[in-house]
Amino acid sequence: MTLKELCRQLSLEVRTAAEKLDTEVTGGYAADLLSCVMAKAQAGNVWVTLQGHPNIVAVASLLNLAGVIITEGMAPDPATLEKAEEQGIPILITPLTTFTVVGKLSALGVRGVDEA
């Protein structure tokens, strides 16, 4: 499934890199600790988090993640949006909680890194 299709299904608000939504999503990962993400998330994954500071862009870019979903309507720092636009990392916003977002992703067939 492409990121674009995910945005449509989950009504995500696309804040940056709208031209990078054709990426095929390879799976999903959810955590708020950056080192956990560094350790586990795989290239092409969509990352679900509450964090909104600019370092999420560095992590997403280093791991070639498909995009970052920021939950509970958290407003990302302006610097985050600026960096994400510059590095072509889609930042997607939703008022839903992380739990709900992950549940919906799972129902759409997006698998976790520890699922076959």
Partner: protein
């Protein structure tokens, strides 16, 4: 949005004067049609502008010639058979306007004039295709040279130990630039053609080492990436305060980070264990109160890449 191809881009970039034929064969209004036939045959062209005293006055083509032949008018002058209704292109216009003209009019060629209306060239569809192909060939060739330089750097530069050294200063508590050194190392490796797995492992190790310097040091430090033919070495060196218990610090989840750092998503206590997971060799020295020196080695030629 459909992707714009390089050729589509090129028709906007290239100017008509870059693709047109400059040495234009011309005839005068007084040239006879039979003479025109000789000229077209001799130069293997299908039409020519008609010029009188340096002034462009018309255009005549092989179609006009065939008509004249069919009507037995071969001794007629060019001025009696030529097209006077002139559509010209400007030399400084982009090729895309020529493409539009060819689509709009049924002409096989357009005279090209400069800004004063003086004839400077002639343009056919063939000229456009040839011009685009030539430009693409030049770009392809440049790309080949670039690729060559990168992939053969270790073969061409001979020493007993060749390496590329990238140094990055990392400031303490500088969260605004966190991850920049590792991003740049990642970019350099992909430019050098490293495999995705190697890039990923190096990027993770470099990122964690960079974050450790930002989070835990008093005065920052330095990240050095040394790329050698068979391995990548990442060195992270700082001037203190050092790690009290290295063995404890290696345990996943052991963290000394204060609450405000954890709220930023850092301080998960996985930095060193993440680095170890990515490394083929890891050497850590950290005399307390003095400095920390971390060396990570990632082998490039392992078959069983993790």
């Amino acid at each position: 949005m459909p992707e714009i191809t390089r050729v589509q881009e090129l028709v906007y970039e290239l100017k008509i004067e870059e693709v047109m034929t400059r040495s234009v064969i011309t005839v005068t209004p007084q040239t006879s049609m039979s003479k025109l036939r000789e000229i077209l045959q001799q130069y293997r062209i299908s039409g020519t502008p008609v010029v009188e005293n340096g002034e462009l006055v018309g255009i005549i083509s092989v179609e006009d010639l065939i008509k004249a032949l069919a009507e037995g008018e071969m001794e007629a002058k060019v001025e009696e058979r030529m097209t006077r209704h002139l559509v010209t292109l400007r030399a400084d216009e982009p090729v895309v306007s020529a493409v539009e003209y060819f689509a709009e009019y049924e002409f096989g060629r357009f005279p090209v004039v400069d800004k004063d209306g003086k004839l400077v060239g002639i343009l056919t569809r063939g000229d456009i295709i040839e011009g685009l192909l030539k430009k693409l060939e030049v770009e392809y060739h440049e790309e080949e040279i670039r690729r060559y330089r990168v992939s053969h750097i270790f073969e061409d530069i001979i020493s007993d130990r060749t390496g590329i050294i990238l140094r990055y200063d990392v400031m303490a508590h500088d969260f605004d630039h966190a991850g920049e050194a590792s991003s740049k190392i990642k970019r350099a490796l992909s430019r050098l053609g490293a495999s995705p797995q190697i890039i990923r492992r190096t990027a993770i190790a470099a990122y964690e080492a960079e974050m450790n310097i930002i989070l835990h040091t008093d005065e920052g430090g330095e990240i050095v990436a040394e790329i050698q033919p068979g391995q990548i070495i990442i060195r992270a060196v700082d001037t203190g305060p050092g790690i009290p218990d290295v063995e404890q610090a290696m345990q996943p989840g052991f963290s000394t980070a204060p609450e405000w750092i954890r709220e930023l998503g850092f301080g998960a206590g996985m930095g060193l264990s993440n680095i170890q997971r990515c490394a083929d060799e890891m050497h850590l020295e950290s005399p307390l109160g003095k400095w920390t020196s971390l060396e990570v080695v990632i082998y490039l030629d392992r078959k069983d890449e993790r």
